[in-house]
């Protein structure tokens, strides 16, 4: 088997058994990048190769000395370009940060360094994570490894494509409304959005502070649990991170769902859903039922309001979060200005892309005097109702199962002229962010066109262990 196709836990076994060296692993990844990056464009920047290989050499020396490795030590990882690595570029795929070099490490980066993972580079994304296709990148789109004419999903499309193509073994993405799960579904990999507060946001360039969460994008469920083990936990630098005891998530990788009650929301199987996607999800539901899970139809009555609510709250927060990009202290500054307000206006008009400007304007509007109550405040109230929908549902069931996205990967350019159509690509993932609950997308089959289909499992807040157990069981059963 090819190294670039192996999940991290298998590479770890080979490293420990000294069947391969860490330097070989890295060279294989470099080779794959050399072969595929030209057509996929998963990355925006790469770390210096010499540096990367030196780190791999250190891992090999540890092995030679008989020292124990951390479970993901020496594993090549790709990082979405909205997380700060000290001394590396963090562009958020925006012209306004094209040459910005971060002066500090994000908390997740610190944790990955402590556990010996090796950073390969920073991956492409929709500008400031605004999008569902990675087409809104100032540096050009990423292509889906399964069909180069199609999008990889977004906004963490670069990370998902890198893992799917073998340009990295694992990756980090960020998910504000589905930005990890939807590209994972489109690229046939596993993407987890943890509970809000599970992973520190310190060093993640904020899109919508109350919705953003960093999570793993991996080749399988086991890697997802391993990577969550490394990045999760309370952080003094993030007041919204939650201080609770951390489980070892690999303990939940048990192929057993007997007695589990799994809810299927009726609202998710109505209009706009691709029939192939529906059929594939229903097959998995049958499979789970066959191996002992109890399937129950449930209702999430406020589902229809998810997208509207999301685009009010997320854009409101984004309008303030992006105000700092003003050309004064760092980032792009327009040369055509005579006054202070011209400096602001021109730098932002020239520095931000179309979708970023659209969302800043939307967010500014919903917070404006006279509109605040009608939009933002109303949005907060509906958000509470959506949360309450899930609370009600989780009184009856352990987890909820849905399609990740209504369709498989669409063609590049297909939806760029119609933002509303694009927004609907996140219709099944957005509610989890509004409710703060965790969700995973795992591959559950392929369409006739050989495009991956993703299945989403949602659980109550801090219920990642349940998610892992169900996802792992389903993953194993689907292999058979």
């Amino acid at each position: 088997m090819k190294i670039q196709e192996l999940p991290a836990h298998q590479i770890h076994k080979l490293l420990v058994k000294k069947e391969i060296s860490c330097q070989e692993v890295i060279r294989e990844i470099f080779k794959t990048i050399g072969e595929k990056e030209g057509e996929i464009h998963a990355y925006l920047s790469f770390r210096d190769r010499e540096k990367v290989l030196r780190e791999a050499k250190k891992v090999d020396e540890k092995l030679k000395n008989g020292e124990k490795l951390f479970p993901l030590e020496g594993i090549p990882i790709a990082i979405k370009d909205n997380m700060c690595i000290s001394g590396e570029k963090t562009t958020c795929a925006s012209k306004i940060l094209e040459n910005f070099i971060s002066p500090y490490d994000a908390t997740v980066i610190k944790r990955l360094k402590e556990k010996g993972l090796i950073f390969i580079g920073k991956t492409n994304m929709d500008e400031f994570a605004f999008g569902s296709s990675t087409e809104n990148s100032y540096f050009g789109p990423t292509h889906n490894p399964y069909d180069l004419e199609r999008v990889p999903g977004g906004s963490s499309g670069g990370s998902a494509a890198a893992v799917a193509s073998g340009e990295a073994t694992v990756a980090l993405g960020s998910d504000t409304g589905g930005s990890i799960r939807q590209p994972a579904a489109f690229c046939g990999v596993v993407g987890l959005k943890p509970t809000y507060g599970r992973v520190s946001r310190f060093g993640l360039v904020a899109f919508a502070s109350s919705l953003d969460q960093i999570g793993p994008i991996t080749k399988d469920v086991t890697d997802s649990a391993l990577l969550l083990n490394v990045i999760s936990g309370y952080d003094l630098m993030d007041s919204t991170s939650v201080n609770i005891t951390l489980p070892d998530f690999t303990k939940s990788l048990i192929p057993q769902v007997k007695g589990f009650k799994i809810g299927v929301p009726q609202e998710y199987f109505v209009s706009g859903i691709d029939r192939e996607v529906e059929a594939s999800i229903k097959k998995s539901i049958k499979l789970l039922e066959a191996i002992g899970a109890k399937i129950e139809e449930i209702t999430l009555p406020h589902t229809d309001y998810g997208i509207a609510t999301y685009y009010i709250i997320a854009t409101a927060e984004a309008s303030a979060n992006l105000a700092r990009f003003d050309g004064i202290r760092y980032g792009y500054r327009s040369k055509n200005n005579k006054t202070l307000s011209e400096l602001y206006e021109h730098s932002r008009a020239e520095g931000f892309g179309k979708e970023a400007k659209r969302r800043i304007i939307l967010g500014t509007y919903v917070l404006s005097a006279g509109y605040y109550n009608a939009y933002y405040l109303k949005g907060l109230k509906v958000r509470t109702l959506i949360k309450e929908d899930f609370n009600q549902a989780f009184r009856k069931v352990d987890a909820i199962l849905t399609p990740t996205s209504p369709t498989t990967a669409f063609k590049i350019g297909e939806k760029t002229d119609d933002p509303l159509k694009m927004y609907l690509a996140d219709v099944f993932t957005i509610s989890a962010n509004l409710a703060g609950i965790p969700g995973i997308s795992i591959p559950c089959g392929f369409s006739k066109e050989k495009l991956p289909i993703g299945l989403q499992i949602l659980a109550p807040a801090f219920g990642e262990e349940k998610i892992f157990q169900i996802a792992f069981t389903l993953e194993q059963s689907l292999k058979k």
């Binding site: 958020c92 971060s102 500090y104 060093g203 993030d238 303030a320 700092r324 004064i328």
Partner: protein, 473 residues
Amino acid sequence: MKYETIVGLEVHVQLLTNSKLFCNCSTKFGEKANTQVCPICLGMPGVLPVINEQAVRLAIKSAFALHCEILKFTRFARKNYFYPDLPKNYQISQFEEPLAINGYLNLGKKKIGIKRAHLEEDAGKLLHPEEEAYSLVDFNRCGIPLLEIVSQPELKSPQEAEDYLNVLKLILKYLEVSDCNMEEGSLRCDANLSVRPQGENNLGVKTEVKNMNSFKSVRKALSYERERQIKLLEKGGKVNQETMLWDEKKGITLPMRSKEESQDYRYFPEPDLIPLAFNEEWLKKIEQEVAELPETRKKRFIENYFLSDYDAGVLTSQKPLADYFEETVSRGGKPKLVSNWILTELLGRLNSRHLTIGQSPFTPAHLVELLKLIEEGKISGKIGKDILAKVFDSGKSPTSIIKEEKLTQISGNALLLKVVVEVIKENPKTISDYKKGKERALGFLVGMVMKKTKGRANPANVNKLLQEEIKKL
């Protein structure tokens, strides 16, 4: 027509914390530009704020001192506006759920209402080099905690506004919440002023007056603004609701360039910080610290300890100083003496070393010990002062210093007699002057004995011995 003046004040004070409101940067004043900064207070991409507990404590302390209601649940909000001294282009402040509301401040017999008090972060400072086409910005001040205290429109004259500021400063300095230095910018004040015909119930149109840099200039600016508004109304004109800038040199207020439309700050709850809810016990502890305010304590010092108005005022200007005094008294020091020693000996020495009373190496226990030694006649007052200096430098106790340096008074008469006889022999001229009736001559002789004994003799004893010995001649 007679007019009534209505003033409301908005005061910002910098809180005396070691670090900034949302990061670990130092709050030290007067450092080199942009040296007290980090990615967080510079608003770099990806950073998050973390609240400084000490700032919350100081804010709550002030709120208790101003008799405010502390809200059970308080939250931060983003105030959105673009300005180069504001790195995030929003200020983290409080809006709908401030820390404290509905308090008052005693101004003589009058109570002036406090509408609200809330925490927020300070902005940086813009510098405009002369004849240059650019501006510079210093972010050292950016993120320093501010407490905004908003009074009700209940001040009835410019003088009352100045008095309010003086009382507020007294309280906040006493509690060591802020040093309230308007010249250094640790206290800033904007005022709203309106006038109305006497007897009228509705408030007149107000103007906001800014740019005053001392309490006196607040009074002067408001007096000017009051006259300006009255003159305008008497001519049949109307007051515009606008912001006026005080020009200290010219002694006038001038309208700020009027904005086309009023600023919309688009406040919304700060999603990066969780709301604060306070532990009852924690609140109670802070409340106890402010149980007695300086005014009451001063009165008590005058009544209970028979101190002068001035002495009591100085001692109660800072809480730790008043505590120091009372601890010394409770350990047995005589109030008047303790007060004298603190005010004449200790404070000067602390000031010259830039120490606060809390950092004094000379403790209340040391002072009590020293006063006892003087009272028992073991040392003279003069030596007492030297000992204070030595304790101050070494931290050793007065008794051990006396032992080490053999500074006790010569109490055995034999030794003293020897010196007295010596002095008499050496000064025959003075002796004869004294015998001729020059009483002052004796003082000179006493001084000579004291000099020879390096101050260790008891002057009363010396006096007595000298007279006896001279009689014998």
